[in-house]
Symmetry: C2
Subunit: 341 residues, 2 copies
Amino acid sequence: MKKTTLQDVAREAGVSLATVDRVLNGRAGVHVRTIDRVQAAIERLNYQPDRLASRLARARDFRLQILLPQGSNEFMKALEAEIRTTGERFVQERVRIDVAHVDVFDGDALAGALERLPDGLDGVAVVALDHPAVVEAINALADSGTPVVTLVSDLPGTRRAHFVGIDNYAAGRTAGTLLGRFLGGRTGKVGLIAGSLALRDHIERQYGFEQVIAREYPGLEVLPVREGRDENARVETLARALLREHADLVGLYNVGAGNPGVVAALEAAGRTRDVVFVAHELTAFNRRQLVRGVIDAVVAQDPGHMARSAARVLLALREGAPIVAGQERINIDIFVRDNIP
Amino acid sequence: MKKTTLQDVAREAGVSLATVDRVLNGRAGVHVRTIDRVQAAIERLNYQPDRLASRLARARDFRLQILLPQGSNEFMKALEAEIRTTGERFVQERVRIDVAHVDVFDGDALAGALERLPDGLDGVAVVALDHPAVVEAINALADSGTPVVTLVSDLPGTRRAHFVGIDNYAAGRTAGTLLGRFLGGRTGKVGLIAGSLALRDHIERQYGFEQVIAREYPGLEVLPVREGRDENARVETLARALLREHADLVGLYNVGAGNPGVVAALEAAGRTRDVVFVAHELTAFNRRQLVRGVIDAVVAQDPGHMARSAARVLLALREGAPIVAGQERINIDIFVRDNIP
DNA sequence: CGGATTCTGAGGTAGGCAACTCAGGCCACG
DNA sequence: CGTGGCCTGAGTTGCCTACCTCAGAATCCG
């Protein structure tokens, strides 16, 4: 049994290739009656377009737009680098990936950027911020037929087609379990540092973490969260204060970036070994500290995977191809010193 | 700057398309002088074949052959299922994936199967067994121009082009670190169960595990490894014996399959909570035990990723396309109850 | 108001896209 | 005058798309 082609469908429906193509791509200029006939033929023959052929024949390249927060942390930089690498590879597949930067914390700016996006985009990936204007802008884009995926930080209330990222609540719980188990029955206080309490992912992680500690490790007391704004210096100040004020501090969890600050504080206090420290993301720095034994575990999401997944998902959405769930799921990765890639 | 095509190369070299194509695909019937001319033109124009077009124009589909151990454990079954799923999707891309089963433990049988593979294969993935005849057969295949990758279990001495799997030594170390840290200073004996000491991956894991425990956790003593042959009943017997003979058993590491046996033994002894148990692979059973808290951590490799990676790598090798290292690296995944996908 | 003219919507034709492939053709050699 | 070796030409792959055609409706003009 040979593969059924557009030709077959055209013959079956009694129309020309162009008409079938118009129906398939939802372009105008076809009578409703004809559309029905063509669709019936497609059903009957179980026709599936050949992605290779259609990509080859397209005049225009696919254009994907990625919106990242500007001037941000190491993880975002890694993500951007991965997106660019992915972009280079996808050029060969007739896909162009553009990266733009916006101010994450300014909802109106982000919404404005979304609205001012050029026409003819085939997909948009955006690091979403929870703000009414952003919700609106994403919905408008989605409604206009441009597939939208959220990246790293989700906005579940919108009509985005997909989320490329992890469940940060589960990530926080994971951090809690690791810290709790690594402490192995020791009792005392646990310091908690977040980047900003305006970031949904940070709040979710914090919440998951606190919940696990409260429920499973009664001997541990989580201190009130402090905001480090993902800046090394500021984080260091916070960490030093925590160490100074709480002699019985046994654990530290940094929800966001700024880990060099934490490490510096631990080193200054000479407590790199006995304080269990759980951090996020497998940056070059964190990698070194894992090996040194200063960071005990890292909870991470793979920026390379995320970049590729965003591109694949957007393309699949555009081409009407199925999304392979297992492939596009972003795992909550745990790294200890022994399984660093 | 437009993309350079075969046409351009042909014009530049002063030959026809067909000739360039022959040179590109290393087919016979071209004079050495002409080959040089064409290759020079390719260099000069920095020509890169269009995979889309070539896939489309191929008369024949790509054919990949996967060789899996027969009648095996849950992980292998999951891997096979993933390979079949991958195969279904790749059909649309002109790739056919066949799966065959061989007896893993019989080196000659595996070598024979490799030698009897049909002609015209575009790639072979094999769960390798360390046996001279197998080494020989893999090298012969590779030398005949068929890309070969090893799957799950590697054979570094051969001319296989790639290994799809994890570093099992590191996986064992990871298990050791998790177990050691989870025990948090408790002292006592640690039981070690392997499937078979003829399996390279099991030995490597065991070695990595023992090394970490010996070096980092002086309070723990690893008991001599016992072979459970990946069978539940046999593993249960071993686990029961360990629990009975060692009152101070605080940890268990099962290198292979048969975890239901371990769990049954732990339950019978009423020690599901206080013995730290680290297992491998995220099977349905292990997932449940993680949630229940009987298994404390799972060290895993993602069968879906491995299936897709094997297919992608073989294709890339065949098409002369680059391999994206980050995408094809198989991670040593750590799962605790909170980050189960 | 009738016929000519211009729109407009519906649908067809043919020429790409970038490679693969097969039936020949040409030349030189024996 | 065969026979290889080397190479060309033209047809294919499955789909996209710019450019047409054509009928019927709307508009115009005398």
